[in-house]
Amino acid sequence: MNRKHKWLALAVLAVSLAGAAPAWSHHSFAMFDTRQEVTLTGTVREFQWTNPHGWLQMEVTRGASTVEYSIELGSPNSMSRRGWRRTTFKPGDKVTAVINPMRDGSPGGALVYALDAKGTRWAWR
């Protein structure tokens, strides 16, 4: 187990599969482990308000290094109907993100929910 996987394993929380079906239409979500949740704390580098999916690019500090995570969101269309706006996040914002991590341990995942600096909870599925 390399360092990255060890870190992920420590952060992983077993979760139940109960809940609303995720609104994946554009592609398979097989790359994400929907049975696991990982909590990341860091800084927004970029908030992509784009189709077919929005993305939260997030910098996470780990020891002396910084890792950029690619966190996949819904379409702007579906997110806007759940309260999101194109200004919900901006570069430099502090953010806590709970994600279904990528199965292969690479720095990415599907957002479960995010907490902004004010503690507001943002979910889209």
Binding site: H27, F29, N51, W55, S70, N77, M102, D104, P107
Partner: protein, 273 residues
């Protein structure tokens, strides 16, 4: 095309059984205005899902289309490909329509636009358009039609229910119904009953017949709830920022970083990058 001729003949027979003029007077048309959203997830036939709370695309999840033994084997092979994340989905390429009946089984907004001569089902995701002619015309003749994703739909009104038949679907190797791996043949055709129920939900009861893949008709009900407030359909520009392309070599769906390069660690190992 031989079997398509049978499908066409069957649909033509259904048309003969209905009134000569399918067109409804404007005051008789139902009010289906608004933006609607499918409920129940994108697993096509929730009533036969195994496990019951299984989601489309999750490893091992399936439904029970009335397949012949040959097509059941094909479905099982697709389920294994889904498990390995090697079941390529054409819509992931942002190029082709969802097609029929899958366009009745997708996320984001729906509009059901009723006019005296046509009804249009407009899906935000895709986007997709299903045109249903209700002006009394029949299906295209066999020598005039060619297989397409969405096919050819004609219908008539039975009270507040739009009944339409769809023929002319493509998918020589099996058109995808959903990401469990369910597919239908290019001989599939359908009768759909679309109405607004008393509880305010839109309901599509889709009966698929497939003389190649099925042993009997497969009837599936999809429902849609009306979204409240000032809801507008927006662009769904799938090619704008598609960071999940399909790797043509393996059928695997990749995840790209903001620089456009795959972040999938094992993919990079596989390709020797």
């Amino acid at each position: 095309m031989r079997l398509m001729a049978l499908a066409t003949a069957a649909a033509a027979a259904m048309l003969l059984a209905q009134p000569a003029s399918a067109q409804a007077a404007p005051e008789q048309l139902p009010d289906w205005t608004g933006v609607w959203e499918m409920v129940g997830g994108t697993l096509f036939d929730r009533s036969t899902a195994e496990p019951p709370n299984g989601r489309s695309g999750e490893p091992g999840v399936r439904e029970r289309p009335p397949y012949t033994a040959e097509w059941e084997a094909r479905y099982l092979a697709n389920i294994e490909r889904v498990r390995q994340d090697r079941f390529p989905d054409p819509v992931t390429t942002c190029g082709t329509p969802a097609g029929f009946p899958r366009l009745l089984n997708i996320v984001d907004g729906y509009e059901f636009v009723v006019t005296p001569r046509q009804t249009w089902i407009l899906t935000e995701n895709g986007p997709n358009v299903l045109r249903i002619y209700t002006d009394g015309r029949g299906h295209m003749a066999e020598e005039d039609i060619w297989p397409t994703y969405t096919g050819d739909s004609v219908g008539h009104w039975e009270g507040d229910t739009l009944v339409f038949t769809t023929i002319g679907l493509n998918g020589e190797d099996g058109a995808i119904i959903d990401r469990t791996g369910a597919v239908i043949s290019d001989q599939a055709h359908a009768t759909t009953r679309l109405r607004k129920r008393d509880d305010g939900m839109m309901e599509a009861v889709i009966t698929l017949e497939d003389p190649v893949a099925f042993t009997r008709p497969w009837t599936v009900t999809k429902t849609y709830r009306k979204l409240e407030g000032d809801v507008r359909i927006m662009d769904y520009a799938c090619a704008e920022n598609n960071r999940n392309p399909v790797d043509p070599a393996t059928g695997r769906t990749l995840t790209l970083g903001p620089d456009g390069k795959p972040i999938d660690a094992d993919f990079q190992e596989e390709s020797g990058d």
